[in-house]
Amino acid sequence: MSNRVINWFRYASPQTFYPLAGRLIPWFWALAAIFGVAGLTIGFLVAPTDAQQGEGYRIIFLHVPASWMSMFIYLVMAFWAAMGLAFNTRLSGMMASALAPTGALFAFLSLWTGALWGKPMWGTWWVWDARLTSELILLFLYIGFIALQAAIDDPRRADKAGAILALVGVVNIPIIYFSVKWWNTLHQGASVSLTKAPSMAALMLWGMLLCALACWMYSIAIALMRVRTIMLERERHTDWVRALLAEKE
């Protein structure tokens, strides 16, 4: 047992994680491409046209995975933040900062594609629906996290402050979601109800799952790439980075 713990912490050091991440990245890119092509093929070429929504529904192949990822990445970020505070490992903070832009990107994509979907379906770009509003607030939380980290010069301090913020955010997200839902039901008259079609064709579901997997692989690949850059930047004065750079030259 203790053996395994030690092994895990071995990879928590940037020096050992850097080459490992480098080896993994191409695989995740390849998987992202395979899943993406498969998912989009099913989504756009194979899956039938929706009886009620016509062709416009096909945006969900991007919209739904993006929403999932935006929420999930925040949780992963908070997890790394907690690890960083608890074990004081350098890698955790770097992972959290590497994930934030991807999470923000997915939150933004989810809002964007939601608006694109809303226009033909509801006749309006934006409704104050509970899910849309929560997604918007999630985007605000991401932006706050990124802005806080950007404003602090000392990376260690930025990591810790960001970690506290991420944890406060993760405690607050359910409260915010619940309050927005409550607010929405009170003001239901103004908005359009967002109930999904009860049964989704199996093929559509497959397409969506494959697209979701593609987004997963993309997120992992891009986060690993970003974390490698952060490592080089922060540790540029350490021996291992110097050795690495000397090797490249």
Partner: protein, 222 residues
């Protein structure tokens, strides 16, 4: 423990009393923001009645934001914060005292002003009472949650703007339940549910927020 919290509150109130201009400025900010809305949307009483709870609550949020940067900045600048962090007691308790003092100085005046401003918006008696009550219950949560943001942005570039970026999204539940309580009264649903949820948020804000705040302060002192 109580002695310590009382000592912190006493000290902060005394300091605030010697610097009354700050309190008065925040109060006038609140009054001005609220008074601008009728000028912007027109004086129809029906519309104003509908807008009142939201406008007053949003203005209260902004007025609270205005006083937050000073919550720790002065103590940080003159070295008092170091002393507090080195005192032989949990820093969270000190923060709790400071949050209570902040509410007394920045939150309570808003509550007292609310009925007067509500009359400007032609609110009926019961709505006015619920609005004031909702502010009374909800503003402590604003001080508590705001303290986290104030601690995180302590000594950071562009602290004030960053602070609002961090804190305002976290204020959303308070805004929803606070303004919602008045709406519910007007529409005849009764404000109890909203007010009790608001009370839960305030308790959470005042008693849990000091701990992440203390952690953030220690990070800022490193």
């Amino acid at each position: 423990m109580l002695i310590l919290i009382r000592a912190v509150i006493g000290r902060d109130l005394r300091l605030a009393m010697r610097r009354q201009a700050d309190i008065v400025a925040a109060m006038f900010f609140f009054i001005i923001v609220v008074s601008l809305f009728p000028l912007g949307v027109g004086p129809e009483p029906d519309q104003l009645r509908k807008l009142a709870p939201g406008v007053l609550w949003v203005a209260a949020l902004l007025a609270t934001m205005l006083s937050l940067p000073r919550l720790f900045a002065e103590d940080h600048r003159d070295g008092t914060l170091e002393q507090l962090a080195l005192a032989p007691q949990p820093l969270g308790l000190v923060v709790l005292g400071k949050v209570i003092a902040h509410w007394l100085v920045a939150g309570l005046p808003l509550v007292l002003l609310a009925p007067v401003l509500g009359i400007q918006f032609d609110l009926a008696g019961d709505a006015l009472a619920v609005l004031t009550l909702s502010l009374l219950i909800g503003t402590p949560a604003l001080s508590g949650i705001g303290a986290i943001g104030a601690a995180l942005t302590l000594g950071v570039r562009g602290g004030g703007v960053l602070l609002s970026l961090l804190v305002l999204p976290l204020y959303i539940p308070v805004l929803i339940f606070g303004a919602g309580a008045v709406d519910a009264t007007v529409s005849g649903l009764g404000p109890q549910a909203h007010l009790s949820l608001l009370g839960a948020l305030a308790l959470g804000g005042v008693f849990f927020a000091p701990w992440p705040t203390a952690a953030a302060l220690r990070v800022a002192l490193e």
